[in-house]
């Protein structure tokens, strides 16, 4: 049974509304009217509640009411098997089409009428994100950034940059867990400091040896760990950092026009990665305090790191995902929808690699040989 979804329509012309990051408002695709998120929230607040209620009632009635028996439906199974567990069906309020989405989908677009749709029931209770970081950069900026990214990459195959077409580009609100906490670090070091002086024909070196102890707390705020299995961790880590000063309390009004998923990796699972990162940085910071104490040598002897986990927040972060295909290989790029930082792995042209190798090695070797022959 399809669940209820909402699509935000223009109060003026009922055209579909998209969140426009460049102006920070929702814009109508047809008449160009713009509305603040708060205005749309106020307008659609009831609808969202209705949709959530309807979703709950639909689920209830699906359990209570027996199916009609007019037709023999035996050959047609609504059992999706294991795949069905992760699928959800929704009805587009604009055209009535049935949308089959992933169980984690929070916002998407109707493939029939193109209207952006939001699934309010996905934000119930603990599933509701605390924050959202709205998109600031649009699709055009993402495409431009990718072209810029190709530039100055001397080992990129020429055909990749010239013939390569963007296969898919999608703005996605990626679920992130933001971890707060404190690392309590206690480290010991062996250090030494030497003084050398000359007495006649002897060089005297006196070395003072010390045992150092450095202990302290390192506080961390909002270490992000992506809570989506579909998003590669390497890509999500590499587009950091986000500017948290622009975080907003969550509102579905920011979602239209973008894909959004709810988390499918829970915070306990993600906490391990946040712990690892915090511990690593805390150790480095405390070690640096010893290393900068003016000793000639300083080497760690022992350490104890205790992590005190603090508050965890759930936030949706803006990411442009771009995929391209070249020589039957897929290349995935991610761009921070707020800062514009774009990352991704590019193919390496062997010809260009060896060409550059020769262009560097030969002149360097030649120049050095000339210097050695003529001046040494």
């Amino acid at each position: 049974m399809p669940e209820q979804i909402t699509n935000f329509q223009c109060p003026s012309c009922t055209g579909p509304l998209h969140f426009d990051g460049s102006i920070g408002k929702l814009r109508c695709d047809y008449c160009g009217s713009t509305f603040t998120v708060q205005e749309i929230e106020a307008l659609y607040g009831d609808k969202i509640e209705d949709a959530q209620t309807a979703a709950a009632q639909a689920a209830e009635s699906a359990q209570q009411s027996p199916p009609e028996q007019d037709w023999n439906w035996n050959a047609v199974s609504d059992d999706w098997g294991e795949a069905g567990i992760d699928m959800r069906a929704y009805t587009c309020p604009s055209c009535g089409a049935e949308l089959i989405c992933d169980a984690t989908t929070v916002a998407t677009q109707c493939p029939y009428c193109g209207n952006p749709t939001v699934v309010p029931s996905q934000f119930d209770g603990h599933l509701k994100p605390d924050y959202i970081l709205p998109f600031k950069l649009d699709k055009v900026a993402a495409v431009k950034a990718l072209k810029e990214f190709y530039r100055d990459k001397k080992l990129l195959p020429r055909e990749f940059a010239s013939n390569n077409q963007i296969e898919k580009i999608q703005g996605v609100y990626v679920p992130f867990w933001l971890f707060n906490g404190t690392a309590e670090v206690d480290m010991s070091f062996r250090a030494s400091r030497s003084m050398t002086h000359r007495e006649g024909d002897r060089i005297i070196t006196e070395t003072d040896h010390f045992q150092l102890r450095r202990a302290g707390n390192v506080d961390f705020e909002r270490i992000p760990v992506d809570g989506s299995r579909r998003m590669p961790d390497a890509h999500m880590d590499a587009i950091e950092p986000f500017d948290y000063s622009e975080l907003k309390p969550f509102s579905p009004g920011y979602l239209p026009g973008f894909l959004a998923n709810k988390y499918d990796v829970d915070k306990e699972e993600c906490a391990a990665r946040a712990d690892e990162r915090a511990a690593h940085t805390a150790e480095e910071v405390i070690e640096a305090t010893a290393m900068s104490s003016g000793y000639a040598t300083c080497s760690p002897m022992g350490k104890s790191i205790r992590l005190h986990r603090g508050e965890v927040n759930y936030a949706l972060m803006p990411v442009w995902m771009l995929s391209t295909r070249w020589k039957d290989q897929s290349f995935l790029f991610a761009m921070n929808g707020q800062t514009g930082k774009l990352i991704g792995d590019l193919p390496v042209s062997k010809e260009r690699y060896w060409s550059w190798f020769a262009r560097i090695a030969i002149p360097v070797a030649g120049a050095l040989a000339a210097v050695l022959y003529f001046f040494v």
């Binding site: 080992l155 250090a191 024909d201 690892e276 480095e284 991704g344 070797a365």
Partner: protein, 280 residues
């Protein structure tokens, strides 16, 4: 008459003042003879005879043969008898040829020290450490009996005996030296070539490695530097505990100059000083 006497006295006084200066200047310019007996262990006749022999050998073989005796080499203030010999050779003796070929036999009577200082390319070739040992054997038996004249004479005979084959063998030696030097030059050129090639390859590997790294920008992070609060870290314990002090002594190695009675030798083509010194 009084005026003539006064002029004569003035002339004598002037000569007394000027001559030592001239002699000193001459000495300083390298005008010592082949045999200088400052220790006074030879009669003038003996010295002159030895001078004639040494000068004859020097001219004939174009290699300076010098004998200098001194009461005490330490008066020169040069530390060792070898350094003293070098000082005398460099300041008062010329040697022959472009590299100042020659051999100085310095005898210091205070503690019965001697030094044989070979100098110049040919000097070092003719009187390498083995030949200097032979020279020591020539005068040693006489000196032990304080027979200085015969000791020096035997020494000069031994010097000439060595110079005959040395003069004959020197061109072949030079040729082999040239070949050796050419081989060395080839090896150095090869090493320079290989070194340059390796530096080029390493530089290219580094630069291209950097370019390659730019192509892979999706990397997992293992730190959280950007999320540390501005006030962190809050240090609670900062302790520096002194444990102990260690002291190491390194003796500065002096470049060995004394062969101590047969140790030192000259390398191929070496034209500086090489010594054999000891006591008699």
């Amino acid at each position: 008459m009084k005026r003539k006497i006064a002029l004569s006295l003035l002339l004598i006084l002037l000569m007394c003042l000027v001559l030592p200066v001239t002699a000193s200047a001459a000495s300083a310019n390298g005008n010592l003879g082949c045999v200088t007996d400052s220790a006074g262990i030879l009669t003038e006749e003996q010295r002159q005879e030895l001078e004639d022999i040494a000068a004859g050998i020097s001219e004939k073989y174009q290699c300076g043969v010098y004998i200098v005796t001194t009461p005490d080499y330490t008066e020169f203030g040069r530390g060792t008898i070898s350094l003293c010999a070098e000082e005398i050779y460099d300041r008062y003796l010329h040697g022959f040829g472009e590299t100042g070929d020659g051999i100085l036999f310095l005898v210091s009577m205070a503690d019965r020290d001697f030094d044989l200082d070979a100098h110049g390319s040919f000097g070092n070739y003719a009187f390498d450490y083995q030949q200097r040992d032979r020279l020591v054997n020539s005068f040693g038996p006489f000196f032990r009996n304080d027979d200085w004249y015969n000791g020096f004479k035997a020494y000069l005979v031994a010097v000439e005996q060595r110079l005959v084959p040395a003069v004959a063998g020197y061109p072949a030696y030079l040729e082999s030296l040239e070949t050796q030097q050419a081989q060395q030059a080839k090896m150095i050129a090869g090493a320079k070539g290989i070194g340059s090639f390796l530096v080029g390859v390493l530089t290219a590997t580094g630069v291209c490695g950097g370019m390659k790294r730019q192509m892979k920008t999706a990397r997992e992070k293992d730190d959280a530097d950007e999320y540390m609060t501005p006030t962190s870290p809050h240090m609670q314990i900062v302790q520096d505990h002194f444990l102990n002090r260690t002291r190491t002594v390194q003796v500065i190695q002096q470049e060995p100059r004394d062969s101590g009675g047969g140790g030192g030798h000259s390398g191929g083509g070496f034209s500086g000083h090489s010594h054999t010194s000891g006591k008699f």
